[in-house]
């Protein structure tokens, strides 16, 4: 058996990045994710794998360093928390527009503005509905444990390169700061220059005499060319939606009600369904693991079976809109959640379920 370590979600991101053979990390410190870079600096991967770890002068600089590294076909990443990720939005739309693969981790804290340093899930809209300008999507994974923080790093790079698209790991202060047992994967080698040249022929690796030059850009002044490119992007997103939906269902088969929750809220709600079932309420939990692509069809399937759904998120109600769209308003869908840095307790969720859905059912 491989070694089990007790570590924070943020530390797991750093450890997993090194072991996945990532080429570069560029970041700027911000609570509650500073342990990502702190851990990388402590582990000194430049001495072992040759991975670059660099503290940039700002989040704007880090995301543009990511752009540069990604353009060369390197596996590069950054991480930040909400206000820092807001600063990165221009870079993210440029990365999506230039079809560059990269991984961005957002350990979400309460907003708006500088907000608070405590956990929140109020960057859902920013992440899955745009954030930056233009018709683009970020493939978004929502880890619900420290183990998933570790596992999703490599998965994110796989998806990023498969689709040549930025991937966001949307975490929050709970998952970032909590410690759990983690099993880390074996150390993988970084990609060689030959591997990149052979497998990522779009990358700017230095033009050889026998090929056309590669241009990394997101600008097309000709409207018809830009429209054709947008069609290409949309086709790519349809393929992502068809192939990459990930979700988990807990006790849904006999459920009268379903709680829909992701990330740390899903952990809390798992306890809520234990409490509710002790009270005789048949409730299950549906956890979207990918927030984009959203598990629309799978939720619709469950809508045919249950009397109502409660979207539980640490926001004033964001994912609830996607749940309503998914079930086409065929059943009552309500929202519950504390926000602005406050975290709902398992008991509060059960009370909300009783008041908002079951009470209304009588």
């Amino acid at each position: 058996m491989r070694e089990l370590k007790l570590m924070k979600g943020n530390e797991a991101i750093a450890e997993a990045a090194i072991r996945a053979g990532v080429d570069g990390y560029f970041g700027y410190p911000i609570t509650p994710q500073s342990e990502v870079m702190e851990t990388l600096m402590a582990l000194r991967p430049w001495d072992s794998t040759g991975m670059v770890v660099l503290q940039a002068e700002s989040e704007t600089a880090s995301i543009n360093m990511v752009y540069g590294g990604a353009g060369c076909g390197k596996r590069v990443m950054t991480s930040s928390s909400s206000p820092g990720v807001s600063l990165m939005q221009e870079g993210l739309t440029y990365l999506a527009g230039a079809e560059l693969p990269c991984v961005v981790v957002n350990v979400v804290r309460g907003g708006p503005g500088l907000g608070t340093i405590q956990p929140a899930q109020s960057d859902y809209f920013q992440t899955v509905k745009g954030g930056g300008h233009g018709d683009y999507k970020l493939i978004t994974l929502a880890p619900a444990s420290v183990q998933e923080m570790a596992d999703f790093v490599e998965l994110s790079f796989d998806l990023a390169f498969k689709y040549r698209n930025p991937v966001m790991i949307l975490s929050d202060g709970v998952i970032g700061q909590m410690m759990e047992k983690v099993e880390l994967s074996e150390q993988k080698p970084r990609w060689t220059a030959e591997y990149i040249e052979e497998n990522h022929t779009w990358a700017t690796t230095g033009k050889k005499a026998n090929r056309e030059k590669n241009i990394i850009t997101s600008v097309q002044l000709e409207a018809s060319v830009q429209e054709a490119f947008n069609h290409k992007l949309q086709a790519k997103y349809r393929s992502v939606e068809e192939n990459e939906v990930r979700y988990e269902e807990v006790m849904c088969d006999d459920a009268d009600y379903i709680i829909v929750a992701y990330g740390s809220s899903a952990r809390i709600c798992q306890k809520s369904i234990e409490i509710a079932r002790e009270k005789g309420i048949k409730v299950g939990m549906f956890r979207p693991i990918t927030l984009y692509p959203f598990p629309t069809e799978q939720l619709m399937k469950r809508a045919k079976q249950v009397k109502g759904m409660l979207s539980v998120e640490m926001s004033a109600g964001q994912m609830v809109e996607d749940v309503k769209l998914a079930v086409e308003c065929s059943i009552p869908v309500e929202h519950f959640g504390r926000f602005g840095g406050s975290v709902h307790s398992p008991g509060e969720v059960v009370e909300a379920l009783e008041q908002k859905l079951i009470g209304g059912d009588k």
């Binding site: 709970v174 410690m179 759990e180 047992k181 306890k271 975290v343 307790s345 398992p346």
Partner: protein, 183 residues
């Protein structure tokens, strides 16, 4: 077996590291564990608390609204968490600085004067290990050998020479905890 614990006191008392050592002891005993700090602007003298769960099964929520055991190390935490202990649960507190003693009659209450004991031992920094020892006397959920293994894992190697002193503090804690009232 599942034990849901809140440890609460002042920043600087070693609340978070005590929780970490307890959690690592659980890992050494092949249990599922979670350690969730109520993090904030960190400062000495501010309040600090951590939720630690040790369980034989997969842990659902790392955040709780009621606890099997509350380890309370200042008055603010007494005011905040006494009411959140499950009926029949356990409250362990250090009497130092406590102006309002616990009032619940449906829980088991223990007092450990660890602040005083640490001063007597001329090792004030081992305060949290005295408390941990007291807790393990009341709730022997992890074997002492696993606690020592957990201690080794939690402490950076440059501090490993302090392990015997911490071990002594844990043992002292098992001896100086007293039951105040029974549920």
């Amino acid at each position: 077996m599942k034990e849901e614990i809140i440890i609460a006191g002042f920043g600087g008392q070693g609340v978070l590291s005590m929780g970490k050592i307890l959690a690592y002891s659980g890992v050494m005993q092949d249990m599922e564990v979670s350690w969730m700090p109520a993090y904030g602007p960190e400062m000495r003298g501010g309040t600090a608390n951590v939720t630690v769960i040790l369980s034989d099964d997969r842990i659902s929520s790392p955040i709780l609204h009621e606890y099997d055991t509350a380890i309370i190390l200042n008055q603010q935490s007494m005011d905040k968490f006494e009411s959140d202990i499950k009926p029949g649960g356990t409250l362990i507190y250090d009497g130092n600085g406590i102006t309002r003693h616990p009032e619940r009659t449906d829980i088991n209450i223990y007092r450990i004067d660890a602040t005083a004991e640490a001063a007597r031992m001329h090792a004030v920094k081992t305060f949290n290990m005295i408390v941990l020892g007291g807790y393990l006397k009341v709730k022997p959920i992890v074997k002492m050998e696993n606690v020592i293994a957990g201690l080794k894992k939690s402490l950076p190697e440059r501090h490993h020479h302090l392990i015997p002193m911490n071990e002594k503090a844990i043992t002292r804690g098992t001896e100086c905890i007293n039951q105040v009232s029974e549920a």
